[in-house]
């Protein structure tokens, strides 16, 4: 017997009918998520709250979040719920309150990853892959002895030795200038994961350049 259950979540995840009545399953990209009827109706009923929570919580935190970013966070929240958080709900609070908690954590994580990449204080070894100008905050005596092509060679060799996934991220973010959000979409990963990869790439490249030029003080930008 087919389950005539067919609905769309706002993110475009579609439930498809399966043999038998239960479980109802959702397919997102190539993965299936099974969902108990209770979880299903709870989540659908509270779906409109997610965006409201995102806006209220970010306002409360005095953080500016664009509509696009709010969409990304909403996607992240739904993924968290579908993958794990729905199963972990123990009923110790109302579901709407539990949803608030999930959204609060998602917004905090998002802001944390956003701060990590844009903060100059936490990372003073920025590296910007640009053919003509990659050196900043150097004294002229160091520039006199250093060749831009040398740095490019170092970066090129380091990138060549990275895993394909990281090479893709490097190319899209540092060379093609896609945003983190866009890279995350293309790679079907969360923005926070992409942010972490970008940070690791920066560290790796900086370490490699500093290995050749230890006199380098501040970041290359």
């Amino acid at each position: 017997m087919y389950c005539n259950y067919n609905m769309y979540l706002t993110t475009g995840v579609r439930a498809v009918p399966l043999w038998g009545k239960n479980p109802v399953a959702y397919k997102k990209n190539t993965r299936w998520y099974s969902m108990a009827d209770r979880d299903n109706s709870l989540l659908l009923e509270h779906l409109p709250l997610i965006k409201k929570f995102i806006k209220s919580i970010s306002r409360r935190m005095d953080a500016r979040i664009s509509d696009e970013e709010a969409d990304d966070i909403q996607q992240d929240v739904i993924e968290r719920l579908l993958k794990k958080a729905m199963k972990e709900f123990r009923g110790e609070c109302r579901f709407s309150t539990y949803l608030f908690k999930v959204v609060h954590n998602a917004v905090s994580d998002y802001l944390k990853s956003r701060n990590k990449i844009t903060s100059v204080d936490t990372d003073d070894h920025h590296i910007h892959y640009h053919p003509s100008m990659m050196v900043d905050d150097f004294s002229s005596s160091i520039i006199d002895t250093m060749k831009t092509e040398d740095i490019m060679e170092i970066v090129h060799n380091e990138v060549k030795s990275m895993k394909e996934e990281l090479r893709l991220i490097f190319h899209w973010y540092f060379v093609e200038k896609y945003t983190q959000v866009e890279v995350a979409r293309m790679m079907r990963k969360s923005q926070s994961t992409i942010a972490e990869h970008i940070e690791n790439i920066r560290r790796t490249l900086t370490r490699a350049v500093k290995g050749r030029y230890p006199e380098m003080k501040k970041g290359i930008h």
Partner: protein, 192 residues
């Protein structure tokens, strides 16, 4: 101040003791057992992440547990002051009672600082008295039996309003949270 709070929140991470759901259960009054409530507030003294979660829950929900409209989300009630030997220097705040604003403007130290903070439909008067290296905090509220909890890093104290007064003595300088009647929160920062 706000961006500092944001930094503290993102640095706090998540709860390591899986207490978030219980904390939220106390917040939305699903949990009514006194033992669990005490357990949650003791945990709030230890866990920055849960404390911010608790604060933010009440900042965006009204007394009935409904989401406040985005444009009506209020400011955090934060009181700040500096402790000096035998006196206190209040910092500028909207919650200071009228008669003490001159002290703020002149930066002079006073023997007692008084604030009036919102707590549901009523206001609560908060008086802070210096006492050597500590302070005493006295709250004046209309409802006898109202519970007030003081949460500071690592410690939690409970007082109940009797004859209109609740009091905490020997409070060390630092940053702590006053929870009035379980849902109205006042952050107090006392520097030395």
């Amino acid at each position: 101040m706000k961006s500092e709070r944001l930094q503290r929140i993102v640095q706090a991470g998540t709860c390591e003791n899986d207490m978030e759901q219980k904390v939220m259960g106390v917040a939305d009054s699903t949990i009514t057992s006194e033992e669990e409530i005490q357990q949650v507030f003791a945990h709030l003294a230890e866990c920055d992440s849960c404390r911010y979660l608790y604060e933010d829950y009440f900042a965006i929900h009204d007394d009935d547990g409904n989401l406040i409209e985005e444009g009506e989300i209020g400011e955090t009630v934060e009181l700040g002051m500096k402790l000096e030997p035998g006196s206190i220097v209040p910092l500028a705040t909207d919650f200071m009672v009228e008669g003490q604003r001159a002290a703020v403007l002149s930066g002079e130290a006073v023997s007692m600082v008084e604030y009036r903070v919102p707590a549901g439909g009523d206001n609560v008067d908060v008086k802070v008295y210096p006492c050597d290296d500590t302070v005493s905090i006295q709250l004046s509220a209309s409802g006898d039996g109202t519970r007030v909890i003081l949460i500071s890093p690592g410690t939690m104290e409970t007082a109940t309003v009797e004859k209109g007064i609740a009091r905490f003595d020997n409070v060390m300088p630092g940053r702590f949270l006053l929870v009035i009647n379980m849902r109205h929160l006042v952050t107090v920062t006392i520097t030395k």
